[in-house]
Subunit: 310 residues, 6 copies
């Protein structure tokens, strides 16, 4: 069966996809239609179902896996699917992983890499703090995306982002040996784990009520305080790690209640930004030709980036 990244203008036929979002609309004539975003492991595509039955309108929901019968059109330079029929697929008959984007590095590899670094720590307080947090959150840590939409928005995205930052952190510590490498790496590993509570999960990711009312920064800061207290971890390490989590967005208006006041917090903020921006840019350039510009990128201060011919 076809995959989404194989579709081109004019393709007709059937393929399976996960409904990643679904909205009802009304045509000028008063008829109800359905707007989908469909996804599989290879990508996603917008789709319109102009003539659903009343039953289909009532039954279809985001999160379902469906078999689509349709044809592909090009609309404003973007592909769009016109749906002729939809059949719901029984979840028990498919492997959901076939419908979910994943990063370039397998999750097992990410886990091996990150664990190896943690095991090498000499500072036992930092090491224990990470391991105790991981006792609760390891499963989600390797499954969650790093954000609902902006960057690393795929299964395993959070760990992919953390590993990208860890590599940067280790390089930069070689350039500036006065930095405390294990403190910085602890900040990198823990800084975003609050997202495992802020967000609903790796598929059809949304903000939870707790996530909206507290935010991942404050959620994680409280978890670190609690894990440290429960495990008798004391000393400056705990305050500094809490400080790094609180300050890693780097500016008040981005939700950090405190700005970086140690070099490791300053660098944590920088490498968080670099890795997120490189991921946003990679997505933005996807499908752009040399000599042209990307669309405006909200996460990059609304700039359009040029794809050079070099």
């Amino acid at each position: 069966m076809m995959k989404i990244n194989e579709l081109v203008d004019g393709t007709r036929g059937k393929f399976c996809a996960l409904i990643s979002s679904l909205n009802k609309g009304v045509t000028a004539k008063g008829a109800t239609y359905l707007s989908f975003v469909l996804q599989d492991k290879t990508g996603n595509i917008d789709a319109k179902f102009w003539s659903p039955s009343a039953d289909e309108v009532a039954t279809l929901k985001a999160g379902m896996v469906v078999e689509i019968d349709g044809e592909v059109l090009s609309y404003n330079k973007q592909l769009q699917m016109k749906i002729n029929g939809v059949k719901i697929i029984d979840r028990s008959t498919i492997d959901l992983n076939d419908f979910i984007k994943e990063g370039d590095i397998p999750r097992s590899q990410l886990k091996a890499n990150i664990t190896e670094v943690i095991n090498s720590f000499e500072n036992q307080k930092l090491k224990t703090l990470i391991l105790k947090v991981m006792e609760h959150y390891e499963l989600d840590f390797y499954n969650y995306p790093a954000a609902a939409k902006i960057h690393h928005d795929f299964v395993g995205g959070l760990a992919t982002h953390v590993w990208g930052m860890m590599k940067l952190a280790m390089s930069i510590c070689e350039c500036y040996p006065s930095l405390n490498k294990e403190l910085l790496l602890t900040g990198v590993i823990l800084h975003d784990i609050g997202k495992c509570i802020e967000l609903s999960g790796p598929v059809i990711t949304e903000y939870t009520v707790e996530g909206k009312l507290l935010g991942h920064i404050s959620i994680m800061q409280a978890i670190v305080a609690q894990v440290a207290k429960e495990n008798g971890i004391e000393g400056e390490e705990v305050i500094l790690v809490r400080h790094m989590i609180l300050s890693h967005h780097g500016e008040y208006e981005y939700g950090s209640p405190i700005l970086p006041m140690i070099p490791e917090a300053e660098i944590l903020h920088y490498i968080d930004n670099i890795d997120a921006r490189m991921n946003v840019l990679a997505k933005a350039y996807d499908g752009v030709k040399e000599g042209e510009f990307t669309s405006r990128q909200f996460a990059l201060e609304n700039r359009a980036f040029y794809k050079s011919k070099l």
Copy 2:
């Protein structure tokens, strides 16, 4: 012996005071002199000691109680003391409370008022949350100032500020009955208790390292999470109280990582502001004549306020 609020231009003689700050200076001729802020229960005054002995330079410290021999001058419309001699007073011979400003309402009365309201709560989760926090922090809660400098900067200032806000909260709940009064009052009582960790104490108040690196908002949010978990308090109450603490500064740039998203959080922010501003204004008008303006008030967006003749 004279009190500080009795001093006028030309007063000479001896009086006792607490050194609330002390800085060394060097005159144009290279001689060392000492600049003090002196305080007792009735107020404070700047003082200069132009010819301290080397021994006095080495010995005198902020926090000491001293007997001053000096005379009062008027300098740029403000009184300043010129010190002729300083004698250190043995702390065991004096009652430190004689040297510390206190609010208009005695602390015992504040405690009675606030406790009565807590005891009247019908929501047992909120009531337990407050009482369990108070088990750890009650002593400091009734002794700490509400801020190092800006407003309610006196022993018992925190509880004075909280009681002022509680009265406002109860009035406003009568005007808008849809507000959840006990939730709002819980926010009022707990919102600033993190200052008991952020600040060093009721006398010679400074920021602690933990206070600077985490801030009272995040400190308190983590305490509430922990107290709730330790005492098995669950449900939306805990998240809403944490939300109110996080959002009570009302704007990102004032250190709230999350903005108010329930009406009680919005009102908490407003009455915190009103009570703090009314206290700043009361201090600013002190000594200003009708028909004149106060000095510019940093905490009031640098405005000078007019003292009307009405």
Copy 3:
């Protein structure tokens, strides 16, 4: 006949409504259609008339009362009416008050409450100033909305808002006795009367040319200056009331050319905000279920508010 707040998905039939706004549109096929907002005393609803006659396109206007024959659909979670026919109702046969939202407190009661407070004033200058302004504006004061859209947007909204603020003002003066209560109440009563010139009237409310070019703040400030001069009212009262009117928006960017410089002006700004925001929130929560969020509220810095289960 049905009222708008009785309509549900699927309702068919006839009902009467005031056209509160009307726009022409063109379908993709080039046909003209009409978009209405319809209102009666109980609420309002969007409506589409897909096939009006050329005569209907030319005749129908905002401000008319009409009998609608139609059916109700649910579109993006909001009700929308599909109109099958429209009949214009002769204004002389209906009571326009049946089609206009009103506040919870009857206007006669608002007038009795407010008048009682004015009559109790001891300061004769302030009392005379209010009464002389009311000679010209009393009728509009009790009929106008407090704003074209944002808050208290109903017949009598201005007086409802003023009475809400007066209750807050009297409560807060009890908490802070140094405030001049009659000065503050004068500011509350007069601060928004310029809206009777800035806005076109209680129904189909729009900004007037004078309102756009001058603004209600400056209009009212000039009226107070003039009324004072014509009636020989002199002294600081007049300047302070003008100051309170000018400064009540509290920030330059919200149209106050001067910021509050007396405590009563500062409090006026705060209670104006509190009462307006509580009204915006009440409207925003209308129809929202517990555990869900309101839509984003432009007047509340674009925040969505949570409806708690407590």
Copy 4:
């Protein structure tokens, strides 16, 4: 007797001056000294009186004319006078105009120029409005400065500034004939007359209480409304002139509650800026050599300007 603009490093002797400001200070040794700004028609100079008698400290006040015996030093590249003795001069024996800076154009000439333009008006409403305002304010209009400090801060400065703007206005109307020249000129003539109430007068200029609490923009807007009403001037002219006065600062943060909404208001704002800035620059360049920069100019966004060699 010497004039201030004749003083150089090393000058000793006597000269007469107006005390334009005076502050008391205390030396490191505790002695009282006096800091003056002294002025005559030719300029001003800072001065220090290190050893005044107690009597002199009590008697000397800003606004007095005095005979100074002193010597001139150069301090941080600026001249400063060291005062050896001060003698108060009886005001009845001197002509205050000898101590007050005046503009380059005599006030009689300014009055002739401006009056000629007013008399040429064809629009009788605008002409009457100006003439009726002038009945009350003409004397002050030709004597007041345009600002307390920033620009045109000399006797007649207001009229000098207005005449500078009128010339610009007439030039620009030739470039853009669609502008209504008489409307624009009315705005130019009236826009700043509120300063005759906002400021205390042409000598030792300070802000009045009314000026601080209302601001010249709002004061003048109310005067125009009142003068128009008293003289039966109606029609759009009055609203447009009030609009131009309200909007002439061009931005909310500079105290305009309304932004320009007619081309004449936009141009009024621009030429007010151009004429004020050219005056600030002329003062800033005074004494600066070619190839050097002026000091930073607060009124020019803190920029330092270069004096070119061309």
Copy 5:
């Protein structure tokens, strides 16, 4: 044949136009349609072609001249053309100038006026600098628009804008004789010539890649540096002209890396603004009736302007 400015609601028939932009759309039913902006010398109009053939969809492009068969509708108070048929016109048979808006002053006249001023220069360095730049850019200088959209967006718009500014510059130099007129005029003439590289040309104007990546300010600054070096022009003139070009946008956020630091640069910024704004206003008022407001003008801080009845 009809001209665009002759079209009214209901007009039917044929006329010729240049396609100034063209976008594909898809109707709710999935059919492809085309949206045009059509222009001729007299104006432009939006147009929809609801039923193009597949061949027409593939062939029609912006920049073509076409004969349109259609009818005019009024939609939201704006005219829109419904196209029934399109015929491509051979470019060799028409004069493209018939389809391009031009300014009120013929380009030959602009050239005569500007050249006369240049020839009158006494400063030979400035004169040579202008003439050498013109050797490369004169043709484009008299053909390019001053901006892609905002103001003076027509053939010859750049020279029209420059000439408007030159007249202002010469007037203002008469009001303030200390300004160096030839320096200011050099800045006026050269300041925007970088747009001849930043923009693609006078028809269907777009930003070039070089324009987007460098901006006209930096492009022109480098050209002046190079032309000066190649022609041996040295001295302060070159630096001052480069400074004026760099600073003419007047604020960092509008793309000036340096703010004005000489009076001529300050004035250049002001007159650039005045002339551009007067042109924006003239376009905005086009078709607006007395007593009404223009639409909101993005280039004028989103204000709507009032068309007075005076």
Copy 6:
């Protein structure tokens, strides 16, 4: 002879130093004194000369090397020298390098490292561009500081900063292989060479007139354009390098007229920041004890940084 970094509270005697700044002052008694900043290779110290002769006041200038006879005091926790006598040293008898701070890496080593990277380039256009620029600026490139004050303010600071950035650039390119490493390195090497014109030189560094009026960003952009044209280097490389130079400050308000639009420009901005900030922090921590905070750092958004005990 003593070095500056050997001085402690109480040191008396003679030592040689370069006068890095010098200001005249006047004591309260009217006597002239001199304030110095003195430096040698090991550091700098503030110094006061309370009783210079008239001849010394006239002769001493910043940039001279002098022998100081004095004693060291501690003032507000900072060392200050009290000068008893000053003797001017003949420049021909000393090696100026003994008085100038240098970085940790010898300049010869920096040159070897940077040259090796340039020689390894495969892209001949970029390589030629760098080499041709270096023909003119190599000497200054290895001698200039990277800034007058903020960071890398020592002889060779510019090259030290560039080499620090090159190491970062090469590390980051390994993490993100899609980056064009040679393009990024070209940006790193050339981005700040404009400072060789913007600043006066490696000793007593000040801004030049050209530097103030144009800025190093615009100066360098024009140099690259010119060098490319003179050497026939064409193609996208030149525009991209000019773009990187223009955009490397990353925000309009920091003087970039264009924001980064290619990934290499975005990264250039980030590593410029990281290396500068790490240098500022290293200087700020100098002399700060564990458990204490640095002074507020203007270049780090006015934050004070904590020196942890880890």
